[in-house]
Amino acid sequence: MKTTIVSWLLRLYPKAWSAEYGAELADMLRARPLTVRVCSDIVLSALRQHARASQVASWVGVGLMLVTIGALASNIVEPPTHIWSPGLPRRAQPSFAEYIALLQRPLHSEFYVLVLVAIGFWTALRGKTSPGRAAIRVSMIASVPLVLVGLLMVSGVLGYSELNPGQSSTTLDERGILYTFYKGFQQIPGPAPLVMLLSPLLRLPGAWMWGSIGGWLGRKFADWRRPVSV
């Protein structure tokens, strides 16, 4: 029983770390009582090792995931009344509220593309993995809330509504828990629950492309900075 618990605890560590220190730590854990304090010490220490081993792309992905969670939550609690899209004709300078509305769809916005290009650029300069892979990692981590929302929608826990221009936004008080999609100028249909669930997969080729573009820019920048030898 103790051997099983020890092997489970060791699985919490990054593989590279376990290969180096796992056997020693396992020996030590088998030789002493496995108290709650010792187990919690191991869990915390494994988390620290993961934090040390993780790449910049993982942290950027977590940051973008938090933005996505905020956006989804604000869309449910206080949906936007309309969305301004930069590619479309607009009446005047977009208001502050319209910019906020744009932020409520972070994974559809130019902000998302900029993050992917930036992580590709950074990875080409400093990282050990390919820029495309780093961007895919960011995209996958950032999309986790969308998968959860998709699952809630498919299972019927979270409702869904579409708004036409001129319609007032739904609120939590009036309609219960609803994810609202504002059709805006384009009159396009909102994403179906199943599409929401699978959208992270559909994003991967785009993420790879933007990351690779950032990587190409990063390599060009590195070449430009490198001193020319005579």
Binding site: Y21, E24, L25, A26, D27, L29, V38, D41, L44
Partner: protein, 104 residues
């Protein structure tokens, strides 16, 4: 998880490990027991190996070839210098503090 926080700066796991290895090479289990004996501080196994990882990365200690699964660790020349500097600093601060306490 270095218990006995009342030990203050002297309960820092890295400093305790370096002090333990100043006596000679030891493996993880021996380091932990030694720290309990000389400092009265219980360092958890996860905390101990996290500190060992950092010290190896900083080239302050180095693993030796061991028999069996437990590898002994030894203090490097750089580790000796860093430990010496830290302990001298602590001694200087401690003596100033004690002197001021007596004057107060």
């Amino acid at each position: 998880m270095a218990r006995k926080p009342s030990a203050g700066p002297a309960s820092d796991p890295e400093l305790l490990i370096l002090s333990s290895l100043a006596e000679g090479p030891k493996h993880g289990w021996a380091i932990m027991s030694d720290i309990e004996t000389f400092a009265g501080v219980t360092v958890g196994p996860g905390t101990l190996y996290n500190a060992i990882t950092r010290l190896v990365e900083k080239d302050l200690i180095a693993p030796l070839e061991g028999d069996g699964r437990q590898r002994p660790y030894k203090l490097t020349a750089r580790g000796s210098a860093v430990l010496d500097e830290q302990l001298q600093n602590m001694r200087r601060i401690a003596s100033i503090g004690l002197r001021r306490l007596r004057l107060a």
